[in-house]
Amino acid sequence: MKVRVNVMLKEGVLDPQGKAIGHALDVLGFHGLGEVRAGKLIEIEVPAQNEEAAVEQGEAMARELLANLVIEDFTVEVVS
């Protein structure tokens, strides 16, 4: 099964990437954008029998390595 771990900076934590991207989009002519935030996504083939187990494995990996819980939040979803 394949899970996707989405990792984003926590609310309130400065996001220099998102700031720069928002600025660049505006310069390119995409005006009126609100907040832009940048994050990471990691897709992993996990050896799970069912969705629940897959999500659990994804969460464990996120907590242990993929997300830096000091400044980041994550969500996990099954993609296939």
Partner: protein
Amino acid sequence: MKAGIVVFPGTNRERDMAQALRLVSGHEPQMIWHRETSLPSLDLVVLPGGFSFGDYLRSGAMGAHSPIMREVKAFAERGGHVLGVCNGFQILTEAQLLPGALLRNASMRFLSQDCFLKVENAGTAFTRGWSEGALFRAPMAHGDGNYNATTDVLDRLEGEGRVAFRYADARGNVSATDRRSNPNGSLRAIAGVLSENNRVCGLMPHPENLVDPDLGATDGVPLFKSLVESLVA
């Protein structure tokens, strides 16, 4: 030779480049702010190293969309000579003035070390100061220098003599899988490439940092000598 150096917000090797051009050509290059919408009359446009716009999305991506790049493209289309070093190379690929892309180094770390480059095509305005197969030392300092392109593109580049430089070991041996001589993991150990007309050249390492005998090495001088000799009208 009239040279212009494009400065983006976050560019940080423009002074190094200016020093090298000054030293070898005897002329002071012009600094060109990225928001300019026209270029002065120039023989050479240089895109120097750094972190344009922080390189926060992809290295060179935002720089490639700066207003001045429209002018740089037009300059290249008119047959002008453009040199991109490090971030400049990344910007040239993002702007599709050069083929391929520069991915994160295979080690996932920033690499700051000397490497050896082998001159693969000594018939261009950038390389004629060397002989074919010549080897020279240059420092690299980048996080995203892993050259990547499809097999078709790579074959074409090789077939047309558009690989300018490859990473090699101190004896000139090239091996794409040898992490010591090709530390960023570039496909076919490619360190620098040329455009179809051989007038746009991008490379990752920094010859401009090895031009001053007072600082102990002059390995990068032939690049600038080549340009001066080729471009002095």
